[in-house]
Symmetry: C2
Subunit: 527 residues, 2 copies
């Protein structure tokens, strides 16, 4: 059994702190030594991906201590605990089983007589069967017409992950002949969100996927009622247009309001649920269950690699350790995620939830306040767009922001053009390579306004192409990275108590049970 200790109680912690200010990134990345670093400082992931950390502010001495940190924090042992079914989510007293939605890493996990792997696979098969019936025209609308659009109603993890995954594969699917149905998403309780989607689709040929684990999420139930009312007004029968993704014990689980219900459980956190039926139903409807399975396989392979005890061969763990070094030794409070792929346009928004909701905590898993910073702020937009936006601050601002690039050698749509001797894809890749070097090495100039200080660290994940498999591996990489960081910080990465207070106060406002400033704000907003 691993011991759960705070980061600053580990023997290696002061040794790590001693590295601060010792390393010159600009120098290390210059000349032929820089080229050697690029060759040496990388570790293969799976599905053609590689994690290159040459432009991170680490050297062999730092890496050596990070390896020691991984040992002292017993990262791989804790991961083993997790996938073998220990109650790792201590706050809510729950197992953490999202890896089990895509593979079996350890012992069978049996809860109340149910083998959980079998349970998740069964629900995936149910989703696959349902999707194939929709695609083949066995399940149709009131008029016997096939469905052409799927609309997911969910918020947080029921929205961000599945939406990012859908956008990541939409063009790939179109080009590769497996685009079955367009997907849309309704999440915000702002009624303009639902109105906007409902104005824009063919209601009669739309299938709605209602996603709420508890069956009690305010936004989702409100939007469900909104959608049902709109369907009724259009002379349609909501129960012919809607399925539910929920837990078996929720009020949505066994209701004639839905064509079908697909189950998840309390052991899959919302932000870790893209590989459960939360992502599975909408993605199987959009692209076919085979594509969703390929996505799961990519994630499963990455999960398996994350079992490797040596961080130097385990990209998920190494990325996590370098991130901890940047946060707790170098003191950077944020990380920018910069995918050079338009298909990953909403991947940073997913990672923002995944990372900040998991590790934005001030108490350790025993409820004691920690004395060091935990999860950073995550933000990002696709490159090259970001270059023409906030990169100015990244290059020349007064503070250093660590960077996480992602790039692919090939584009998805296969449409490209040579212009001035290079293709758009080459221009895209040239830009990410150039940015890494500009950030790392900077440039002196007689004009201080044109001077770049450099010394701004980045890592890059490079792949051949964004496919279902590499997307699955990418998703799992970041899930595992966040998990390992949570282990190092000794926080519970799987609850989110910070979302509760706002909910309680919002209910008071709606019940007009407020006083003081809350009443004053309610009046200002004329609620």
């Amino acid at each position: 059994m691993p011991e759960w200790k705070n980061l600053d109680k580990l023997p290696v912690y002061p040794k790590l702190q001693a590295h601060k200010g010792q390393f010159d990134l600009a120098k290390a990345m210059s000349g032929e030594a820089g080229a050697s670093r690029v060759a040496a400082y990388q570790v293969p992931m799976t599905n053609g991906l590689v994690f290159n950390y040459a432009a991170k502010a680490v050297d062999d001495a730092v890496l050596c201590d990070l390896v020691e940190l991984a040992k002292e924090a017993e990262l791989v042992e804790k991961y083993r605990e997790l996938y073998n079914g220990a109650v790792v989510n201590t706050g809510e007293k729950r197992l953490v089983l999202h890896q089990l939605t895509r593979g079996q890493l350890g012992d069978p996990v049996v809860v109340n007589g149910v083998d959980k792997r079998e349970f998740y696979v069964r629900e995936q098969k149910k989703a696959a069967l349902f999707a194939s019936k929709v695609h083949s025209g066995q399940i149709v609308n009131e008029k016997g017409e096939s469905f052409t659009t799927v609309v997911q109603i969910g918020i947080g993890g029921s929205d961000l992950g599945p939406r990012a995954m859908y956008l990541a594969l939409e063009n790939w699917a179109k080009v590769n002949g497996c685009f079955r149905m367009g997907a849309r998403f309704i999440s915000n309780v702002d009624p303009d969100d639902a109105a906007s989607v409902l104005m824009d689709i063919d209601l009669g040929r739309s299938l709605f996927v209602l996603v709420s684990k508890s069956g009690t999420t305010l936004e989702t139930l409100t939007n469900e009622t909104f959608v049902k009312e709109t369907l009724r007004k259009a002379g349609l029968d909501p129960s012919r247009h809607m399925v539910a993704v929920t837990s078996e014990t929720s009020p949505l689980a066994h209701s004639s309001d839905y064509l079908e219900a697909f189950f998840m459980d309390d052991f899959i956190g919302g932000r870790y649920s893209s590989t459960s039926c939360v992502g599975g139903v909408v993605l199987s409807l959009a692209f076919g269950a085979e594509i969703f399975q390929r996505f799961l396989d990519g994630a499963a392979q990455q999960d398996r690699l994350a079992c490797e005890p040596d961080p130097m061969k385990n990209p998920d763990m190494l990325d996590a350790l370098i991130g901890v070094y940047e946060r707790n030794v170098l003191g950077y409070p944020y990380t920018a995620v910069l995918p050079y792929s338009q298909a990953l346009s909403r991947f940073p928004a997913h990672l923002q939830q995944l990372d900040m909701e998991s590790n934005g905590k001030s108490v350790n898993r025993f409820g004691e306040k920690v004395d060091y910073p935990t999860g950073p702020v995550i933000f990002g937009e696709p490159g090259t767009n970001g270059q023409h936006s906030f990169y100015q601050l990244l290059h020349q601002g007064t503070d250093i922001v660590p960077l996480q690039f992602i790039g692919f050698r090939q584009n998805q749509a296969g449409m490209d053009l040579m212009i001035q001797g290079s293709s758009s894809q080459q221009k895209l890749c040239a830009n990410v390579a150039a940015q890494i070097m500009a950030f790392a090495c900077g440039k002196e100039d007689a004009n201080p306004n044109k001077t770049f200080a450099g010394g701004r660290p980045s890592g890059i994940i490079v792949g051949d192409q964004l496919t279902p498999e590499s997307l699955g591996a990418l998703l799992a990489h970041f899930e595992n990275k966040v998990m390992f960081q949570g282990f190092v910080w000794n926080v519970n990465s799987f609850d989110q108590e910070g979302v509760q207070l706002g909910k309680v106060l919002a209910k008071k406002v709606l019940a007009h049970e407020t006083d003081g400033a809350l009443r004053a704000y309610s009046e200002l907003l004329e609620i």
Copy 2:
């Protein structure tokens, strides 16, 4: 003539620093004193908007010193210099005239014999006339069919601002009978971006707006060629489908490749160009020129209010000063922008460019390194979505992130439903009110995991509804806020030298003129 001094050279600077740690936000916002604060700590903007800063970490003593700061930094005098045509963009030796695209605040600004206000108005009228001809069917495609879609090709300020403004008004226009054409945007050099849009539209009935001030932007010219090639392959004549927005001296200005060219100039920075023809052509095509004019009027009114010398009556200046206090006294390195309006889904991305590209600088306007932090990192997503995502860290993370809320009493689409005694719009507003209080006051709990420290500052801009006028005012508010902050920090908010080095290195990569690490990265990416 105002004197341009560094912030830390102003007499009030040490007085401001002395306030650190003196103020207890949770206490100030509790009980009836909190209600009084909400009533007192607000200042009217224009077009029905109000800026409320009750939940900011300031008291009367701080505000008094911020008023002094505004005087010592001569903010209103510098603004006057700017709108009267001084060379405020010192690095590039340019005037800064975006306010002139929507009104005349001071003396006529004449450059080379041209009255610039007249020039901008002339181009707006040209855009209005062009849009009306498209709408009335005078300008049609090769087959005599009307155009149904407008596609903007641009990047950075030619994309983010116009896109955010389009999304902000799309539903409003649909409901109010002034939706003329759907708009799409192509920005990224990633060929999948253009491919995705081109696969999804009716090419023959699409009109493309090519936006590049210099006429040399790599991404935009690459995408132009991509689009033209696609049009030709579809048997269409690109010159019948494309207009240009550019400067009069650019290679695009007088070309038979375009149906029409609309002009801007070097005195309008990209990130400040939404109210120029950069936003004007696409928005006039989408919604009609009258709607664009209403948007300009809203911005003009806010600009005029920003001339008010007393910061306590000038919301743009006050917001700026409080932001400086948060950055340079309280030491917060970021700000989250959280609009409770789905229509503002991309407004944070626009502000991210506006703010970070303007004030992410390390040298003052004389090229001397400054000794204090300048522009913060800006990120955000619409509420309530963010509540189910990164708010966990905002509430319970180890670091404090200042917050900027935006909320409206009414939604845009007018579709809403009472569910459990309240409408969706009421739920939305209740949530933003609740969040402000949860962040400010927190909550003690026997379970430390459920404890909220509070003391997390926020401001809110409240309006009746997001309309063309209030959107214009909102846009101008943030432009003016960023401008005033730049004055305080004594940086040039109107250049962006930090984007240059990456461009130079990318060209080297494409020319295969690299060595060392840059060559190694090029090989890794197989360029």
